[in-house]
């Protein structure tokens, strides 16, 4: 059993390495900016969803307010760069740290809540933050922040036309988020989280510090989502409150994980790889009609997949049940 398990872990790592290598070649073959744009978004959502999955999938604390951390990352990066000239690399890290701290500060009161009370608290907190930024003049309020662009530059992470640098950054981010999940899955944290998710009372009696393990999951989860937000600010080079803190981000990162398989290692990646291209392509190719057909297609897919595959699409791939641990 143990050997099998170690073997499976190694195989997962190998699969991931091969996927990254294969993905790295794709934009060299598909040179069209539009498709590259979809690839960047897909990888970014894979990273976001993977991070969301740590708190909501593994630890079972369903958050529909992660747009807060996404927005915090985006705003920290953009504000530091435009107001103080701090390079976005530091901005993304700073945004990540601020978000992690914020996640713990908010987690302190919120983790006492259960079920839908917790879900609604996360939505409400993210909405409050959105309203506050929307009314915060120094941060541009509704006008948002335009990040000035001056040609290709790795220091300021700006590339007016090429998507390749963004693609590789998003690939690295997705890979790191995956790797952290992989690593945590088999650590004592992963064990705690599963225990907390399945049965908090029993976990407590087994000596799992339920509260602390939730806080840990929240911090890791928020950190990576915020780095993704900082990346997004650089990628789009213009942010405003609605476009980085809106509910749709919270929803999309959750949706990707749910469709792919919540609480699984590969689910978020698979979910993002299906959801994002579909949503982009349907809105591009049938959205122009103005008749709502893209919404009908997109919504029907969500209903069908979530009904037909409650465990997520990743279950299609598992030939046998994962070994019990």
């Amino acid at each position: 059993m143990d050997q099998n398990f170690a073997k499976r872990r190694r195989r997962e790592l190998l699969t991931a390495a091969m996927l990254v290598a294969a993905a790295a070649v794709v934009p060299l073959l598909v040179k069209d900016a539009y498709y590259q744009n979809i690839m960047v978004l897909t990888l970014m959502y894979a990273a976001l969803s993977q991070s969301w999955n740590i708190l909501s999938g593994y630890c079972g604390q369903i958050s529909l307010g992660h747009a807060l951390y996404f927005g915090l990352g985006a705003y920290t990066t953009a504000l530091l760069f435009t107001k103080f000239g701090v390079l976005p690399w530091f901005g993304m890290l700073g945004g990540g740290v601020i978000s992690a701290v914020m996640a713990m500060a908010l987690g302190y009161p919120c983790f006492r809540l259960r079920g839908h009370y917790f879900v609604i608290a996360t939505i409400v907190i993210a909405e409050t933050a959105l309203l506050l930024v929307q009314n915060w003049d120094w941060a541009g309020a509704a006008l948002g922040i335009t990040i000035p662009m001056h040609g290709d530059n790795w220091l300021t992470f700006q590339f007016p036309r090429s998507k390749l640098p963004y693609f590789y950054f998003a690939l690295v981010l997705a890979a790191v988020a995956w790797f952290v999940t992989w690593w945590l899955e088999d650590s004592k944290w992963g064990f705690w989280w599963r225990a907390v998710k399945d049965n908090p009372e029993a976990a407590e009696s087994l000596g799992v510090v339920v509260f602390n393990s939730k806080m840990g999951a929240a911090a890791v989860s928020a950190f990576f989502v915020a780095v993704g937000g900082g990346f997004y600010a650089q990628f789009v080079s213009y942010i405003d409150p609605e476009s980085v803190m809106g509910f749709q981000f919270s929803l999309k990162m959750a949706l990707a994980a749910v469709l792919g398989g919540i609480g699984t290692l590969w689910g978020p990646l698979l979910g993002a790889a299906i959801l994002i291209p579909i949503s982009e392509l349907t809105s591009s190719h049938i959205g122009g009609s103005g008749r709502g057909v893209d919404l009908i297609v997109y919504g029907s897919l969500i209903v069908l997949i979530s009904l037909a595959r409650p465990q997520g699409l990743v279950s299609l791939f598992s030939r046998k049940k994962a070994p019990a641990r």
Binding site: A33, N37, L41, L143, P160, V236, S243, G287, G290
Partner: protein, 414 residues
């Protein structure tokens, strides 16, 4: 800054990408991208815009006897009679989507120009992408004043922006005051978006400069379930003029709530948007007799310039609505762009840009009350004189500026 080998390599890759996209369609067809919200909360504006562009397309591609650039004869004579084809893209009000869709229009559909966008926030990213690909962007109906001040070379706006619109309102107030009307206090009512914020800021600044007192400055959340508290405050302030900057939904709710709470302002002078939409007057027109809205367009012009009425009829055939402030600007947007492409005799971005810079269309050859279409070095047409319209007896009458007015303002409103 030292330049590493990697920088050089990437620079090379970028330079290759920057080379003009060679395979743009030749002569027989000119493809222009139109980017609007076709789904989501503002889908209605997108759908109306589509009809306006299709009307303009018909005027250009077909043979019409209008004193309008390109109306006579079919297609673009400068390109051997080439026809224009429009490609519509949906940005859903999301700046990121707008950016991605613009890239698609440019790289896949090979459009030689882009027109949009209704939402000012989306115009920011769309114009950035166009700048990077050196494809001209014409901002047909965005009114945020910050847009043309970002040093973009490929940005053009033939219509007025909110500072010009607001200035017209204050010119009107000054004129009314000279005639002895009491206008001392103003109540600003604007939504918390880029449009509302820009408009509110412009009005507050002008009020300060010209000595009007702001009795209330209320910023509200758009699409709120209720505006009772907001209207309550407007009522308490009881200013001489109420100045809303609201879209259709909030406009309808504002007017209904005002009636319900027994607030009847002396005058309403609106920053267009919802107050030029048929839906708003269908819903609450009976309570709006005498409301004044700024605008870019007036059907009154049809009396002086018969083609305005005919073009309106063409549009109405498609949409069931009269041209309004937005759709008229959209219509003109395509005309101005097509005129430049025709003179450029090319679909190359730089050549079209040069032609746009040289654009000089006299006002009589537009459907607008504008002096002319001529862009300044930032791409703004400063001769796009706005008008003020008053809603009287179920239709709009031009009341300001004097040279365009056909009636005196009714003040206070009924």
């Amino acid at each position: 800054m030292t330049i590493s080998r990697r920088d050089v390599l990437l620079g090379g890759a970028a330079a290759a990408a920057l080379a003009p996209i060679a395979s743009r369609a030749e002569a027989s067809e000119v493809v222009i991208g139109i980017i609007y919200p076709f789904s989501g909360a503002s889908a209605q504006q997108g759908v109306d815009a589509r009809k306006a562009y299709e009307t303009a397309l018909d005027v250009i591609n077909g043979d019409h006897d209008f004193e309008l650039p390109l109306a006579k004869g079919e297609g673009l004579p400068g390109l051997g009679g080439a026809k224009i084809r429009l490609v519509f893209a949906d940005h859903q009000g999301d700046p990121q989507k707008g950016r991605g869709e613009t890239e698609r229009l440019i790289t896949q559909d090979k459009v030689c120009a882009v027109i949009g966008t209704y939402h000012s926030a989306v115009a920011v990213t769309v114009s950035q992408v166009c700048e990077r690909y050196q494809v001209p962007f014409l901002s047909a109906d965005n009114s945020s004043p910050s847009l043309h001040r970002r040093g973009l070379k490929f940005y053009f706006r033939p219509a007025a922006h909110d500072e010009m619109f607001s200035a017209a309102m204050f010119d009107f107030f000054d004129a009314m005051k000279k005639k002895g009307t009491k206008i001392e206090t103003l109540a600003l009512f604007h939504e918390d978006t880029i449009f509302g914020t820009d408009s509110g800021n412009a009005q507050a600044k002008l009020a300060g400069e010209r000595g009007y007192k702001i009795a209330a400055d209320i910023k509200y959340r758009n699409n709120s379930p209720s505006l009772s508290a907001e209207v309550q405050q407007l009522k308490a302030a009881n200013a001489d003029v109420l100045m809303p900057s609201s879209y259709t939904t909030d406009g309808i709710l504002l007017v209904k709530t005002m009636a319900e709470l027994g607030y009847k302002p002396n005058a309403i002078v609106a920053q267009d948007a919802g107050f030029s939409e048929k839906a708003l007057y269908d819903a609450v027109g009976d309570k709006l007799e005498g409301v004044i809205s700024r605008g870019s367009f007036s059907l009154d012009l049809a009396a002086k310039r018969p083609m305005v009425g005919k073009i309106n009829a063409l549009f109405k055939e498609r949409s069931g609505k009269d041209l309004n402030d937005l759709t008229s600007r959209e219509f003109m947007g395509l005309i101005v762009m097509a005129d430049a492409i025709n003179r450029a005799k090319s679909t190359d971005g730089d050549k079209i840009r040069e032609a746009l810079v040289l654009t000089d269309i006299p006002g009589e050859q537009t459907i607008m009350p504008w002096k002319r279409v001529k862009f300044d070095e930032m791409g703004q047409n400063n001769d796009a004189d706005p008008v003020l319209l008053q809603y009287v007896g179920g239709k709009f009458v031009t009341i300001f500026p004097p040279q365009a007015a056909i009636a005196d303002a009714i003040w206070p409103m009924k």
